[in-house]
């Protein structure tokens, strides 16, 4: 796959959920018959202490953890990968969208381990 700059979408959102995972605020559903290619994730801890951000995918009703971002201190920042996305970057994760006629949906979910906020940036492309 080759990505065009004009189709890369950026989701920038604070994650406030603790414990139970919730839909990542502002993230849209993966379109029907498409896949969401997640190219880059940046996470930063806003909590004054240790915190773990769990990022998962809910794919047609099945929730699968994708990644744990473990922070020690406030403002700890984890980019993955570090550096700009290239037009031939391999995706970190792929979320399958629903087939024609399905009532099921696919989307990102997240939660914190501590009572604080993390900031999350996800760059992705929805493609066939």
């Amino acid at each position: 796959m080759m990505w065009k700059a004009s189709e890369i979408r950026t989701l920038t959102v604070p994650i406030v959920a603790v414990g139970a995972a919730v839909v990542v605020p502002g993230s849209s559903l993966v379109p029907m018959n498409m896949r969401r290619y997640i190219l880059q994730i940046e996470a930063q801890n806003r909590f004054a202490g240790a915190n773990i951000l769990t990022l998962s995918k809910s794919e047609l009703g099945v929730v699968t953890p994708l990644e744990l971002f473990s922070f020690t201190l406030v403002d700890d920042y984890i980019p993955k990968p570090d550096g700009p996305i290239k037009e031939d970057s391999l995706p970190l994760y792929i979320i399958d969208g629903p087939p024609t006629g399905s009532v099921l949906t696919s989307f990102l979910v997240a939660a914190n381990s501590a009572a604080g906020v993390t900031n999350l940036i996800v760059r992705y492309v929805d493609a066939d």
């Binding site: 080759m2 065009k4 004009s6 189709e7 979408r9 849209s28 559903l29 993966v30 379109p31 029907m32 018959n33 498409m34 929805d126 493609a127 066939d128």
Partner: protein, 231 residues
């Protein structure tokens, strides 16, 4: 991306002295190109398209005074267009002429919604806004004959501004009326570009009235006999 692996649309422009055969429902008309001039329109903004939605109305690519950009303003010219679209997932559908769906497979009325819009479109991956444009986007237009477009946003995010880009070559022409020449152009080895105006199913678009005054009906019928291997 598909188009990038193929030849550039610019290789499909016609040169002066080349021949162009256009198929109408009544028969073929053969033109010889006398001269050409480039033009383009980039961007043509279609505006915002909500997630999973299409345009409320088909657009005929007009200016504020309802003049058709894609149509020659007089009978003396033929326009040759290619187009691209952005964002890459925006699906462009064409009618040529308006209300006549081009690219349909099954139904009489082609769907352009999220539920039924998987047939007969060109999106920005197939024909990128920045080019090169897909051969499927090739359109020849003449006076009183112009296309219409609609767009579907198949993703779950709104598209803030769907834009099309058009590259155009304007040709002056003369009409070929010699029957032996027409026959050798239609079924022989001479260099000619053949193009069906609109669609083959159920039929090409009708010849414009002004052109019927320049091309005798008998000549149109002759082209049909040539194509049907009778003449």
């Amino acid at each position: 991306m598909e188009a990038i692996l193929q030849t550039s649309h610019k290789d499909r422009w016609l040169e002066a002295g080349w021949n162009l055969a256009l198929q109408f429902s009544e028969g073929w008309v053969v033109f010889r190109i006398k001269g050409r001039e480039f033009s383009n329109m980039k961007p043509f903004s279609l505006g915002a398209v909500a997630a999973g939605a299409n345009l409320a109305q088909w657009t005929q690519i007009q200016d504020a005074a309802a003049r058709f950009f894609l149509m020659p303003q007089s009978p003396g010219f033929i326009y040759h267009h290619f187009w691209g679209i952005t964002p890459p997932k925006a699906r462009g559908y064409i009618q040529y002429e308006p209300t006549q769906d081009v690219g349909n497979l099954l139904s009489l009325t082609r769907g352009i919604t999220l539920a039924n819009g998987n047939i007969g479109y060109v999106n920005g991956d197939m024909s990128p806004y920045e080019g090169p444009y897909s051969p499927e986007t090739e359109i020849f237009t003449m006076y009183q004959k112009y296309p219409a477009f609609n767009v579907l946003n198949p993703v779950t995010d709104a598209m803030a501004n769907v834009k099309m880009a058009f590259e155009t070559m304007k040709y002056s022409y003369t009409i070929v009326k010699s029957e032996p020449t027409i026959k050798s152009l239609l079924v022989g080895n001479q260099k000619v570009r053949k193009y069906t105006m609109g669609r083959v199913d159920p039929d090409a678009i009708k010849i414009p009235q002004w052109l019927t005054e320049l091309v005798p009906k008998s000549l149109l019928e002759y082209t049909n006999t040539v194509m049907e291997a009778i003449a």
